[in-house]
């Protein structure tokens, strides 16, 4: 199987950017990277489910097991297998796969997620693929089930099948893969054999420079935000870093539901949660205010457009027609104008250019200087070190101890990989 110079765009988004890869028989390739790095897109192209915009694929008989189940819930195991391979005896198919799945007259709806993923795997193996792609197969499995899956993968590899294993869980990639390919923003950044957990974690997350900037603050008072191990004081910026998918979104959503008072939220998923695309800039800004009159809102939005240097033709322009960076500035303008006591900012500069990023950082610093307690959830380490007075690492839904930026610089890669942490290994 050869992939050469594959590029795939979705709209203006480059999902896969000129990627070439060769696979050899019998290897287990761990394909890792953060969410949105292009792993799944690349493998869907390899499996022939997507056509690349440019580049070529030498096809071999490929099978793919998707992250989401493609099963008919109301059918039994046997019926689902019959759908996939008409005319073969389901009992035989299961036996041939070497996977332990009993009671094939049970309905899929009654199966555990582990059993469902086994069934998907059986479907994929039954076609005798020479190239098998597993997309995040362990995300729903218990540790024992994951181990069982790894055994199946090793056995297939021993029979000469190339197994590609997409994951963002570092320990299991290190355990099972014979070759590791790291993707970031649609490109391959590392392709190699043995790696340490720290090296892998560093390769996965973006880091433009290693400078550690600490900004001393004088204001220290009572904790404004406290969540078991998390404390943020007025005037302080506490950063939470980690590989995406370790509970950051859940934390932000939880804080939205539980925090009361003057709280500003900068949501992580800007496209979905940021602005109401169909409404005007003025209307979006006014959502945070108790009173609304079109004229006052337009005047106010006009001021904020000026102050936050938002590139818009008028306050009555629809928010959805602004560029991503300018949308983020509108959110910032709205949220910071609440004069918040607490700010929860999730990935506030994702996708922004350098100038816009600097602007967002300055605004957050200024808010802290005014006495706001700021919780910054970010996967950009530079941002965490540039802004954070203290840093926590999040891994599988748990926070590390509070670290100073200097401690974090030393320990973060290991903690982000889940190496040497005290937590017990129960999923987030």
């Amino acid at each position: 199987m050869h992939l050469s110079h594959i590029t795939k765009n979705f709209g203006t988004n480059v999902a896969v950017d000129d990627v070439s890869l060769n696979f050899t028989q019998g290897e287990i390739v761990g394909l890792v990277g953060e969410n949105g790095a292009g792993k799944t897109t690349l493998m869907s192209i390899a499996a022939g489910e997507l056509t690349p915009d440019t580049g070529t694929v030498d096809y071999t008989k490929a099978g793919i097991v998707h992250q989401h189940f493609l099963l008919v819930n109301e059918f039994t195991i046997a019926e689902n297998l019959a759908l996939a391979m008409w005319g073969r005896d389901p009992a035989e198919v299961i036996r041939d796969s070497g996977i332990d799945l009993r009671g094939f007259h049970r309905r899929v709806a009654d199966l555990s997620v582990g059993e469902k993923s086994k069934l998907e795997l059986i479907k994929a193996i039954a076609g005798h693929p020479r190239f098998l792609i597993l997309d995040e197969p362990t995300s729903v499995l218990a540790p024992a089930e994951a181990r069982e899956l790894f055994d199946v993968m090793r056995r297939l590899a021993a029979d000469g099948v190339t197994v590609v294993f997409i994951s963002h869980k570092i320990p299991e990639v290190l355990e099972v893969a014979t070759r590791i390919v790291v993707m970031r923003r649609g490109r391959i950044v590392v392709d190699g054999g043995a790696m340490s957990a720290e090296q892998l974690a560093e390769a996965m997350v973006e880091r433009r420079s290693r400078d550690v900037v600490t900004i001393a603050r004088s204001i220290r008072g009572e904790a404004a935000l406290q969540l078991d191990t998390l404390e943020v004081h007025p005037g302080e910026i506490v950063a939470i870093i980690g590989v995406a998918g370790n509970g950051q979104s859940e934390l932000a959503a939880n804080l939205r539901e539980t925090l009361r008072g003057r709280v500003a939220h900068i949501p992580e998923d800007r496209a979905r949660d940021g602005l109401i695309a169909e409404m005007t800039i003025a209307e979006n800004i006014a959502l945070a205010e108790p009173r609304w009159s079109p004229r006052a809102a337009a005047r106010r939005a006009g001021e904020l457009i000026e102050r936050f240097d938002i590139r818009a033709q008028s306050p009555l322009q629809r928010a959805g027609s602004l560029s991503g960076g300018n949308q983020q500035k509108v959110i910032l303008a709205r949220e910071l104008e609440r004069k918040p006591e607490i700010i929860v900012a999730a990935e506030p500069t994702r996708g922004l250019d350098i100038e816009a990023t600097r602007f967002v950082h300055d605004e957050l610093r200024a808010a802290a200087a005014r006495g706001a307690a700021i919780l910054l959830i970010t996967s950009d380490l530079d941002e965490a070190f540039a802004l954070g007075d203290a840093i926590h690492v999040i891994y599988r839904g748990r926070l590390s101890a509070r670290l100073t930026p200097n401690e974090a610089a030393l320990q973060a890669p290991r903690l982000m990989a889940g190496v040497g942490s005290r937590e017990s290994g129960v999923g987030a």
Partner: protein
Amino acid sequence: MSENLFRRLRLSTPDSRLPIAVLAATLSIALLALSGIAFGHSPRELLSILISGSVGSNFALQGTLLKSIPLLLTGLSVAIAFRAGVWNIGGEGQFLAGALGAFLAARYGMIAALAASLIAGAIWASIASAMRLWRNAPEVLTTILLNFIAIHLLGYAVNGPLQEASGKYPQSDAIPMSAMLPMIGDLHAGIVLAVGAAIAAWFLLYRTSEGLRLRASGFNRSAAKWAGVNVNAQLVRAMAISGAMAGLAGGIELLGVTHRLFERFAAGYGYAGIAVALLAQLHPLGTLASAFFFGALTTGAGELQRTAGISSTVATFGQAIVILVMIVFTRRRFGQTR
């Protein structure tokens, strides 16, 4: 799935509004006229009957306006609910609840009867929002089922406790004179209330912070939530206002036109409200024109039945065409599919 459809219906940019609506209206009339061929009439002939029967004389125009009043209110009811992202298909049931409420309060006078119709409609609609909040039951199902319950409740009432004293027909006695709506020329005063309701709905949606939040919840629940809007409260409020509008329509129909309850009282006004609201692209003031259009269509269809022997139910055919055109031709927003 329904979320997607919602998006489509709300998405047109302001400049695309009028052309699509005109297209939908023209197409429905054109198809209606063409269908006349099947009955052995020329499209031209049918068209002229439709027009003269709806706006061709003072008498016809009066009939059209009379039909437009309930359509305007049920149209507003749907527009407000859809704006908030709530599929209230229960206009028919809320209309009946409103009429029933007005009937029961009629002995206390007109104002009490009108107030009762608002409250009864709001309560009937709120049953659906209660089920949504309690068990996450989708309004699109609960409201439509509540329609059937209301229809049979009314059927029971006019065959039982509320049947006329003579016990002859399945209908109630007439309401007292004191509760009847006064006449303005040849029309009852309901027209003032309905137009007033359209202006009030416009003011609510576009000039109050409640309306801003209501629209925000309808466009994008998730973003509204992040901006600090209590979207569940919006849902409850929108549903209650929507129900009140449909209830008022029922009350006005009773107090101004029929003066008594009978089994087929709602006559499809609740469902027709969906077509009215969609043609108006969910804008309260657009509803004024769109209610008039459907009022004319209904009256014109009545004339078709009398002079050409074509069943007046062809009016619902016109409504269906309008709904289909509005759904198919409304532009999607900015290519965002999520």
